[in-house]
């Protein structure tokens, strides 16, 4: 091993391969620049949907909404995820990154893709929303940019897989890969499927936009496009769950309750999420109910089961680690004594709660074949996915970034007090935002719609006053979240470029627990279950889980009741 190529972080004990480190830093900075751009468009979109403000004219609104969608849902998240893949392979397995030059080529393609796609939208003839449903045409460069980005990301996936091979060949670890790397591998496998689906539909669509093909069937487009559009969100789920486990390990030295359960749950994502594009076709013509019911659930909702398992095992592993440290009083002392001022932890925990309670429950409810009739294309839908992708994925990645600034960028965090408030502002702002959005959607307010007052229309329609109140709250809570996002960007950019070099201890005391020299948790007599109650190792988490299930059941039943009130149809 060429030791010149490696650096050991004195804080965490993590070992960085220098070429991989440069790639991770560049990818993370690029991702945050895209996040900034996405945030500016978020502000413009929010201020337009806030009825009292109604800022932009319609053409600008749809243009900004298109930019917001592609930059946030695809470019920001996937750029950051490629950095996570390199971290989970090269850093966690303590080995060199495979073919750094190919990795740089992939990065270059991704950046070119972002620029080409964004330029097409800014030019004004590609305001087709992220979904670009045919036969609405866009400037061909819109599709070309997405294709280039996808090829670049695919190269990143192959570099990750190659690095796993190198680590195994060079025996840089013993036994199996860590759980977090396993989760990243899950994300990578889903990413390869996703990108392949994207290629299958976007390449013909590009050819159609160039005039080389004269027809693309719109239902086929929707089916295959959503294997890109929805599966890419499943990359996010796998990646941010891996980040949750990583943060539980970093902050608490937590070990998985059982490797078997957590890994099987990740495998369920691969096996049962892929055709979840069915969720988007539940009210489409030409597709049978049998197909819809089967593909929305695979007869037993095993992907939902997987998320419910992670929802228990991640906080459960934290509870066990905390109990082992002596926080054994009652059901919740372990949680009260958690480091709530540390944004690495607080962000991760808010991400977990928001993803489960808001994003998870709403997603399953609206993915039910018949209930989708009262939700499809209302603003409920963006309410749901902002809970999964913004509170779930983005906030988890923000938390990880606070850890990476001292470790990867070797800078102290500037304004740590501001950073410690940021997850609360962003997470709670977004929690209100998604809740009121779903409320407005229940009243029938449309998504992707410039004017809920229909002022220019010949016939007109008046939503109830409560819908306007809810959309006003969408505006206010949206602004709060955007301020939270801006604080994140401010703190990270200032820290990376102007922060003091890390001298000794990082501000959040994550140092000693990251890679403990010895076995981290003390196994008490009779296993760690002895520290819990009722023979449960994590009784507090179990009570939370039951509380979650109760809300889930009630909300599910309420939606069936609402459905039963609409016109009979068959």
């Amino acid at each position: 091993m060429n030791t010149e190529q490696f650096r050991i972080c004195p804080e965490s004990g993590l070992q960085f391969h220098k070429p991989a480190e440069r790639l991770m830093r560049t990818l993370a900075v690029t991702a945050i620049v895209i996040l900034l751009f996405g945030g500016i468009t978020a502000l413009l979109v929010t201020l337009t949907r806030w009825p009292a403000v109604h800022l932009l004219p319609p053409d600008r609104f749809y243009q900004m909404l298109t930019l917001h969608g592609v930059n946030m849902l695809i470019f920001w998240i996937i750029s950051f995820e490629i950095a996570i893949l390199y971290f989970c392979s090269s850093t966690l397995l303590r080995c060199r990154l495979a073919t750094p030059r190919i990795a740089w080529l992939g990065f270059a393609l991704m950046v070119i893709g972002v620029v080409v796609n964004n330029a097409a939208v800014l030019k004004g003839d590609a305001s087709v929303m992220m979904t670009s449903y045919v036969p609405m045409p866009a400037n061909p460069n819109f599709y070309l940019g997405l294709i280039l980005f996808a090829v670049g990301a695919l190269l990143g996936c192959f570099v990750f897989l190659g690095t796993l091979v190198i680590a195994k060949e060079e025996k840089t670890y013993k036994g199996s890969i860590p759980l977090v790397t396993f989760g990243a591998l899950t994300a990578c496998i889903i990413a390869v499927f996703t990108i392949a689906s994207g290629a299958i539909i976007l390449i013909p669509t590009y050819m159609w936009s160039m005039g080389w093909i004269d027809h693309i069937d719109p239902v086929m487009y929707r089916l295959i496009w959503w294997a890109l559009g929805h599966s890419s969100q499943q990359i996010n789920v796998a990646a941010h769950v891996a980040v949750w486990y990583a943060i539980a390990a970093i902050v608490f030295g937590a070990k998985p309750l059982s490797e078997k359960v957590s890994r099987t749950a990740f495998l369920l994502y691969i096996a049962f999420l892929q055709l979840a594009s069915a969720h988007h076709l539940l009210v489409d013509p030409g597709i049978s109910s049998t197909w819809k019911i089967f593909n929305t659930s695979y007869a037993m909702y095993l992907a939902v089961l997987a998320s419910m398992v992670h929802g228990l095992t991640v906080p459960g592993s934290i509870e066990v680690a905390q109990r082992a440290k002596g926080f054994t009083q009652g059901l919740f002392q372990w949680l009260r004594k958690a480091p709530w001022g540390n944004p690495v932890f607080s962000g991760m925990f808010i991400s977990l709660l928001g993803f489960g309670f808001l994003g998870g429950i709403s997603g399953v409810v609206m993915g039910t074949e018949q209930i989708n009739i009262i939700i499809h294309n209302t603003i409920y839908v963006p309410g749901h996915f902002h809970a999964t992708v913004v509170i779930g994925t983005t906030l988890a990645f923000m938390s990880l970034t606070y850890f990476l600034i001292p470790v990867l960028f070797r800078r102290q965090l500037v304004m740590p007090w501001l950073a410690s408030w940021q997850p609360y502002l962003f997470g709670i702002g977004m929690g209100v935002f998604t809740t009121v959005m779903m409320g407005a959607g229940t009243l029938g307010v449309a998504r992707r719609h410039w004017d809920m007052a229909f002022t220019d229309s010949a016939l007109g329609f008046d939503y109830p006053a409560s819908a306007y109140t809810l959309m006003g709250l969408v505006g206010i809570s949206g602004i709060l979240s955007i301020v939270g996002g801006a604080i994140f960007i401010l703190v990270t950019v200032l820290s990376v470029f102007f922060g003091k070099p890390v001298a000794s201890a990082s501000p959040y005391g994550v140092s000693a627990t990251v890679l403990p020299k010895a076995e981290p948790t003390i196994e008490p007599e009779g296993g760690h279950a002895a520290l819990g109650k009722w023979g449960f190792a994590a009784p507090g988490t179990f009570v939370f889980a039951i509380f979650f299930l109760a809300i889930f059941v009630v909300y599910y039943a309420v939606n069936w009741k609402y459905l039963a009130s609409v016109w009979p149809m068959q």
């Binding site: 319609p58 929303m129 009210v283 037993m300 909702y301 449309a446 403990p516 449960f536 149809m569």
Partner: protein
């Protein structure tokens, strides 16, 4: 070892489950099965299900059928655009066109009667969103969707478009008037 390190036990797949995990997996799995069975259950016992009835069509063919209905059953026109209001007989086939940026024609249906509502698009994709009753479906060019509906509420309903369809998407509004029957 923590989750960012290789498992301490090489044979980790033989470690027994914690009781908390096993219990939760059991509960969650039962709930997952219940959620699945609710969907076929509602097809049998519920009243709100999409029909699965759909046909391939063309804009010209669908326009011809709609025009025939409009010619036969128009009862009045509305607004400066002279939009026809059609009152088709109960139980009949009713046609509705989505196009940039209009739902055409306006419909007048009787409360409590059943109609076969055919919907298709002349151009891009549209979203049929009936408010305030809140029924939403996807309307796709080349596909004719058939919904067998029974309006059981009084009061007028508005059709808005909730699939983005270009610059005047927000002006795409139609109406379904509900009369109290016996007309």
């Amino acid at each position: 070892m923590s989750a960012i390190q290789p498992p301490a036990e090489t044979i980790w797949w033989k470690q027994p489950l914690d009781r908390v995990e096993g219990t939760w997996i059991g509960i969650a799995f039962v709930w997952s099965l219940i959620m699945f069975f609710m969907m076929p259950f509602w097809h049998i016992y519920g009243k709100q299900n999409l029909s699965n009835e759909a046909y391939r069509t063309t804009p010209a063919a669908f326009m011809a059928k709609t025009q025939a209905m409009v010619s036969e059953y128009t009862v009045r026109t509305e607004t400066d655009l002279q939009l026809p209001v059609v009152h088709p007989p109960p139980g009949s086939d009713v046609y509705l066109i989505g196009r940039l940026w209009q739902w055409w024609p306006l419909l007048e249906l009787e409360k409590g009667q059943t109609y076969r509502l055919h919907i298709s698009s002349m151009d891009w994709q549209h979203g049929f969103s009936l408010q305030p009753v809140n029924i939403n479906t996807q309307i796709i060019p080349g596909y004719e969707m058939v919904l067998t509906i029974t309006p059981d509420t009084s009061g007028d309903q508005t059709i808005i478009c909730n699939e983005y369809c270009g610059i005047n998407h927000h002006t795409m509004v139609g109406k379904i008037y509900i009369t109290d029957g016996g007309s």
